[in-house]
Homo-oligomer: 364 residues x 2
């Protein structure tokens, strides 16, 4: 715990906030007390994370009115109905608009807790304590909150920025490999979409990252958050540039929806989605075969899937992709690569390149 | 239909919008087409209003992708679950972020449709076509959207400003008396809380208003919207002054909740709530007996209740009032009158004055 804490500031004017990245943050009551200031605090967590870390929060905040709601683990909990017991707990305890909602968990908990905070009495404070690599590098930055609908992922939600984020790297030590890998998909995404220097670094240091070397991880989380923060600060409400963060996601979301949420982890679907976006970009003539291969090799070295599961079929892929929130006026917009580290959002790609990319998934 | 259309602008920077107030607006396809610009439009209405006016919208927007969801009538529909069929309809039809949600109905429809618009794909455009006096003078201004929770009214929601509001005064001709009256409670509220000149006007012109004289109604809607717009523009997110709009509402919400939502109309509860706020203000020594009587007489002349229903009891009143969103740090904040046309938000009133006001409701 000798390492310094790194800080990333998300510059959003009056909604500006700081992400603290370091080891042992959850074991420091003073730090928790400084980040969570409200008199009334509700912590939303899940049955896997709560037994490990909830007691830290409870002890640090023992002079507050403290409530906790523990949901089941998994993507299937990310729905409107799961919010009801939380609202109930808050109302039973007389929580007012000055309360704070704390997310203690991964992306599912963060998105749901954020949406609870966005909508309880039309909006209260929100603090994120992400406990997965995915949540640290993705959902903790940017203020996207929400839940799934049976007909589409993240279809119901709000933009609601956290007041503070505490990323305790120690929690990654106990993260299952599959969850860790899922976070790596987003890490690689940042490198591919806009940070070629980070791409070089990842290729050179992937073994240390995968071995969860603390100094390597600290850099990865900081760099990923910096990349996301810069994009979000330029386009908070996703009217333009922010859609770049969806690299690999139009394909990935379709994979998740077609398989049924929870079958593949989000990050696994994104791993395959990144490779599909690179393959389409190659077919469009924008990436050289070598560049496409370089992207795919990096994904492959982590152990993430590089191909969609067989059997979905072009028609169902298109059906799910048609629901993507980037679409405008009926056109299917995708995030593609003009080069490594250089993504664009466009509906202007050869139709045959998309068709061939979808057809190639029928390898099962 | 010869009268000019009045316009009230709600000055909210980039979220600024205009309220058109006039007769026959729904019968003018060009006006509907100008207000509702999207390629994909979903109209949310209820089984009472839809048969009367939905066809106007459908005809005017026949070149758009048009969907409609008709809910049952009444406050009991204002809950999270009622939003699900709307999201379903929008997703089945492939609605994207450029779609517009149109509320065609009263306050329940407006609040629910606004919350749908606030949360569908994290926020889409919203157009209000209020069909009750209450909705025209209250929920069409200010961007408060949301639904009830069994433990409290409007406990789940968001701030989401409409893009445009069309208040067609002709729809008020067929409005049932009880609904019309309910709107009058809010009209009187604006006069009492901050517009003494309007109070004088109402006292002088109440017969014409109650007879639904079009010119009188047009003035009433315009003046009420101007009053609300000025307060909302100064305090969009209700951090201060905007709470003044809650005059009569802390008592009113408690009445509604204690009786069960839908037993008394919202406006009826507010009528009694206004009189309770005036009575407490008199007990605190801020209103003279004559002033208190003047407020009560105006409410009484409309035919609205001036007293809470018997049998709720002080304890249950306090229980429901404790959940009010204005409360901070455990103190019960109320909107009270320092004079007619001069309201304040305060927790600094004699405890005995509140106790006596609650005790006086046990007249049943």
């Amino acid at each position: 715990m000798a390492e310094a804490t790194r800080q990333v500031t998300v510059a959003l004017g009056e909604r500006q906030y700081t992400i603290d990245i370091g080891r042992g943050l959850l074991a420091q009551p003073a730090r928790l007390q400084a980040a969570i200031k409200a008199r009334q605090v509700v912590v939303i967590s899940n049955e896997v994370v709560a037994p490990l870390y909830l007691a830290h929060l409870q002890a640090a905040l023992k002079d507050r009115q403290f409530a906790a709601v523990t949901l089941r683990d998994g993507e299937q909990e990310k729905r409107l109905e799961s919010m009801l017991p939380v609202f109930d707990e808050m109302l039973v305890n007389g929580f007012d608009r000055d309360c704070q909602v704390v997310a203690l968990g991964g992306g599912v908990i963060g998105d749901l807790a954020g949406f609870v905070a966005a909508t309880y009495q039309r909006g209260v404070d929100f603090i994120q304590i992400p406990t997965t690599l995915l949540a640290m590098v993705d959902s903790s930055v940017g203020g996207k909150t929400g839940v799934n609908h049976p007909r589409g992922k993240n279809m119901i939600g709000a933009f609601h920025q956290p007041r503070a984020v505490l990323a305790d790297l120690d929690v990654l030590e106990t993260l299952p490999d599959r969850e860790f890998l899922a976070g790596m998909a987003e890490v690689i995404k940042y490198a591919l979409l806009g940070d070629r220097e980070f791409l070089d670094w990842l290729e050179a240091n992937l073994e240390a990252v995968m071995a969860r070397d603390p100094e390597a991880l600290s850099f990865v989380v900081e760099r990923a958050c910096q990349n996301k923060a810069a994009i979000v600060a330029a386009d908070e409400r996703e009217s333009g540039q922010r859609a770049l963060l969806n690299l690999g996601h139009t394909f990935g979301h379709a994979i998740e929806a077609a398989l049924g949420y929870g079958e593949w982890l989000h990050g696994e679907a994104i791993g395959a989605g990144l490779c599909m976006a690179a393959a389409l970009s190659e077919r469009a003539g924008w990436l050289s075969p070598d560049e496409r291969q370089r992207a795919e090799t990096l994904v492959e070295r982590t152990g993430l899937p590089t191909r969609a599961p067989g059997g979905i079929g072009s028609a169902r892929f298109r059906e799910f992709m048609a629901r993507d929130k980037k679409n405008r006026g009926g056109a299917l917009r995708l995030v593609l690569l003009r080069g490594l580290g250089d993504a664009i959002v466009t509906a202007d790609y050869p139709a045959a390149a998309l068709e061939a990319t979808l057809a190639s998934t029928d390898h099962g």
